[in-house]
């Protein structure tokens, strides 16, 4: 068990963390690349900085929607993200690990804050999952991974919370710790290749949305050519 934990903490962590970082860098670069191509094709050469910024901010802080459209769901989503981002990065134990491995550390969340945020992440994660299941309109536009992700993301939070806050026998503790590490590592691997990649693509997506929808001049001919219907009446 100890050796399995060591493996999960050592080489496996390095592998999955590297896949996450490199994979995110890859999708980021590919997106920029596609963006540049779209921009070169676009008829309108202005870059909508302002629009992108406001839309991104609207997505991050959904105040407007919170007030008039599914307020509880929007608030849950926001609070879920707060814990999701803060706890893994600023937990004292995680910082200790980084300190031991790389020699760099940063200030940590106070213990009770970390516990509170962990619990809030678990609760709001379940809430947005329920919100998705409960709404017919949300179900209509959901894919399989949309149901899976909220549950998937709270697994390391639950196991981590239990590890830290309960007195357990070593065998149970080690099993929970292994669950904690392995579930986080599965998330690392899947992260760049699924919708969670929005953690780095967030502002880009808004920019692409606005730029890519400006069709270049005479794009209709290219479409017709590709579809093999050149000259056919529309």
């Amino acid at each position: 068990m100890e050796s399995l934990l060591e493996f999960a903490r050592g080489p496996l962590f390095r592998l999955t963390f590297a896949i996450m970082l490199l994979g995110l860098a890859r999708v980021f670069i590919l997106d920029i690349w596609g963006l540049v191509e779209a921009y070169n094709r676009a008829g309108d050469k202005s870059i909508p900085w302002r629009l992108t910024l406001t839309r991104t901010l609207e997505w991050i802080f959904p105040v407007k929607r919170m007030l008039n459209h599914r307020p509880f769901y929007s608030l849950s989503a926001f609070l879920f993200h707060v814990g999701l981002i803060l706890v893994p990065v600023f937990l004292f134990a995680h910082i200790q690990l980084w300190q031991a491995a790389l020699g760099v550390g940063w200030s940590a969340l106070p213990r009770n804050w970390a516990d509170l945020l962990t619990l809030s992440t678990i609760i709001f994660g379940l809430a947005i999952w329920a919100g998705r299941i409960g709404s017919r309109r949300a179900r209509a536009i959901s894919r399989k991974q949309d149901y899976l992700w909220p549950l998937m993301l709270i697994v390391p939070f639950v196991s981590g919370y239990l590890c830290v806050n309960t007195s357990l026998s070593p065998a149970v503790y080690q099993t929970l710790m292994l669950t904690h590490i392995l579930s986080a590592e599965i998330i690392f691997v899947l992260l760049p290749f699924t919708k969670i990649a929005h953690c780095v693509l967030m502002p880009l997506s808004q920019l692409i949305m606005t730029i890519a929808w400006k069709f270049p001049a005479r794009v209709d001919e290219d479409v017709a050519t590709t579809l093999g219907k050149k000259g056919a009446p529309v």
């Binding site: 068990m1 100890e2 080489p11 496996l12 390095r14 592998l15 590297a18 896949i19 490199l22 994979g23 860098a25 890859r26 670069i29 590919l30 690349w33 596609g34 004292f92 134990a93 200790q96 213990r111 007195s167 357990l168 026998s169 070593p170 065998a171 503790y173 050519t225 590709t226």
Partner: protein
């Protein structure tokens, strides 16, 4: 996926893996990536990448000599691929050097600090100049696609003959000087490979290999892109190669005769077999194959003959560059996986550049149809048929970047971060002392140790009360546990604390919070010290502090234990000023009262160099 896609995906993966290894090499040094040692300071990266790499890139100067100097116009269609391969080959050599050199950012020092006596200095200069010449020779090809550079291109075309001539002259120098490189090592290199004519042998074999490499490359790319192979041209090249290989054989065997070394070939050593094998593969068999017209003109015959020459020549360069020095150095070296990964990665990168150049520029007489370069090809879909993969260039970059990133991540995970090949001493486990009342303490069992007079130490330190002075670890039911119980390794710290056993319900079954305070990250450092529970762990009268569960290495423990006590005694006993010096234990003659069986033990064959020679000999 077609052949090109599969090939390129694999090449990108190799590039990714080698990028991770290169990062390791620059972060942690050569010791963390290679199996090189002080006895074998040159390995795969010099033997294969540089020595064989330069030889494999000789096609450029051979073909330009044939077409521009000897004016054989029929070979003109293969000039461009040959020059491009040569250029990429030299770039690969330079990239390999940037990985292999200890201080690669000083590579330009060859330009300002001159040592004209050194063959390596000359090779360095020639490689720098020849790579530039090859770039100038090739650059008209990419320039012809734009009209903006027409003037530059026409100047380069005018300069082509002098460039070709300069390229041939430079190649002659450094291809031969690679042979001079090992001339300074007559004390190391096996005599079957060492010869004063090595520079000439290297040059002749480079010419033969140049002819073969151009053929080989034509065969490989025609398979990859399903092109029609240039069978007729290749057959002519193979015929020329047969003549050159014959010349090589005559000179090589001539040097053996002149040195009177025929006996060495038949002496049955592994080097003699290697020599025969090498000569058969690189020269004899291909020469015979190429001499037969029917074989030479068949594609399969060309494949076999060319592959043999390439493999044999690479083997020859590796043999000369270090493999046959093992007999003298006694240091067996086999490259680590990381060395292979870097070599493969650099070659893959160059292959990718070559394929990309072939798809975008006019290298062959007919350009291969490659859909990735064609923006109007019909769309590709994922295997399930649901997701559009994007236009062919987009699909391609998605696929290749995925291969690259995954391989790079695997490489990062496999980084060792420390010396991968130790000099063989750190892992020696310690062994308990043997003997009667006089102990022979020989931790690493090399027959080299200290005869420890146990009774005298007991009596001098206060009889039974003194046991704990040395035997501080009183394991259950054992009052005199050996030092090796905890200090298990000769030179490395060892775990003396079994965490799993303490935590397991079947063992001590102690909950975490008993040792690890709550709310603090659980490390060995933040846990309770051992003697908080094991209160009789350190018996009274002993000055050892047990705080960590890491036991020092055997050597450190023994030296600390003995030396610290001896130091104290030096101050107490004024008549023994040298009591704390190494010689006291490691060199004193055996005392008279030592039992005869101990002396017998020390005289056994395995212990012939025990450290107490004088009296053992006399005491019998």
């Amino acid at each position: 996926m077609n052949r090109v896609h599969v090939t390129k995906t694999i090449l990108w993966m190799l590039v990714g893996l080698s990028t991770a290894v290169a990062l390791t090499r620059y972060m942690f040094g050569l010791g963390a990536t290679t199996n090189l040692t002080d006895a074998t300071p040159w390995g795969l990266w010099i033997g294969f990448d540089v020595m064989a790499g330069v030889a494999l890139a000789s096609g450029g100067f051979v073909i330009t000599a044939i077409v521009y100097i000897m004016r054989q116009e029929r070979f003109r269609p293969i000039v461009r691929p040959a020059v491009l391969t040569a250029f990429l080959g030299y770039v690969a050599v330079i990239l390999s050097l940037l990985v292999d050199l200890g201080l690669p950012w000083n590579i330009w020092h060859m330009m300002i600090y001159w040592n004209p006596h050194s063959p390596l200095f000359e090779i360095g200069w020639c490689v720098m100049l020849y790579t530039s010449v090859l770039l100038l020779e090739f650059s008209p090809v990419p320039l012809e696609s734009t009209s903006r550079w027409a003037r530059v291109r026409s100047v380069l075309m005018k300069l082509r003959f002098p460039l070709v001539l300069l390229g041939i002259m430079l190649s002659t120098l450094h291809q031969s000087s690679l042979g001079s490189l090992v001339l300074i090592m007559p004390f190391k290199l096996h005599p079957l490979w060492y010869s004063a004519l090595l520079p000439i042998l290297f040059f002749i074999s480079a010419v033969a290999l140049g002819l073969v490499m151009v053929s080989f490359e034509g065969l490989a790319t025609s398979w990859l892109y399903r092109r029609k192979p240039e069978t007729d041209l290749v057959a002519r090249l193979c015929k020329a190669a047969a003549w050159v290989l014959g010349l090589y054989l005559v000179v090589r065997l001539g040097t053996i005769s002149a040195a009177g070394q025929w006996a060495l070939i038949l002496d049955g050593s592994w080097e003699s077999f290697l020599f025969v094998f090498e000569l058969l593969v690189m020269a004899v068999i291909p020469m015979i194959l190429f001499a037969i017209g029917r074989v030479r003109r068949a594609v399969s015959g060309q494949w076999i003959g060319c592959s043999l020459v390439v493999l044999g020549m690479v083997l020859n360069r590796i043999n000369t560059g270090g493999l046959t020095m093992i007999g003298a150095t006694g240091d067996f070296y086999f490259p680590s996986w990381m060395e292979f990964a870097v070599t493969a990665g650099i070659l893959s990168f160059m292959a990718l550049v070559f394929l990309s150049a072939v798809e975008h520029f006019h290298i062959w007489s007919e350009q291969p149809h490659e859909r990735e370069a064609d923006p109007h090809a019909s769309p590709e879909f994922s295997r399930s048929g649901e997701v559009w993969l994007g236009s062919p260039p987009v699909a391609a970059r998605t696929r290749y970047s995925f291969a690259f990133v995954m391989a790079l991540a695997v490489g990062v995970a496999l980084m060792p971060g420390e010396r991968i090949r130790s000099s063989g001493v750190s892992q020696v486990s310690a062994q308990a002392a043997r003997g009667g009342d006089t102990l022979f303490i020989d931790g690493n069992r090399d027959g080299f140790g200290v005869a420890f007079d146990h009774p005298r130490h007991v009596s001098a330190n206060g009889d039974k009360a003194s046991c704990v002075l040395c035997h501080h670890m009183n394991a259950p039911l054992d009052k005199q546990s050996g030092c090796t119980t905890c200090h298990r390794r000769m030179y490395q710290m060892a775990d003396a604390f079994q965490h799993d056993w303490h935590a397991s319900p079947k063992g001590a079954s102690i909950a975490c919070v008993i040792c690890h305070e709550e709310g603090v990250y659980r490390t060995a450092g933040s846990a309770l010290p051992c003697d908080a529970c094991h209160r009789d762990l350190v018996p009274p009268g002993v000055t050892i502090e047990v705080k960590s569960y890491r036991a020092p290495s055997y050597v450190d423990a023994m030296h600390d234990l003995c030396v610290s006590c001896h130091r104290r005694k030096t101050l107490e006993l004024t008549d023994r000023p040298d009591h704390a010096q190494c010689r006291t234990c490691h060199e004193t003659p055996l005392p008279d009262y030592l039992q005869p069986d101990m002396a017998d033990l020390l005289r056994r064959p395995g212990y012939n160099h025990v450290v107490l020679p004088a009296v053992v000999k006399g005491s019998n």
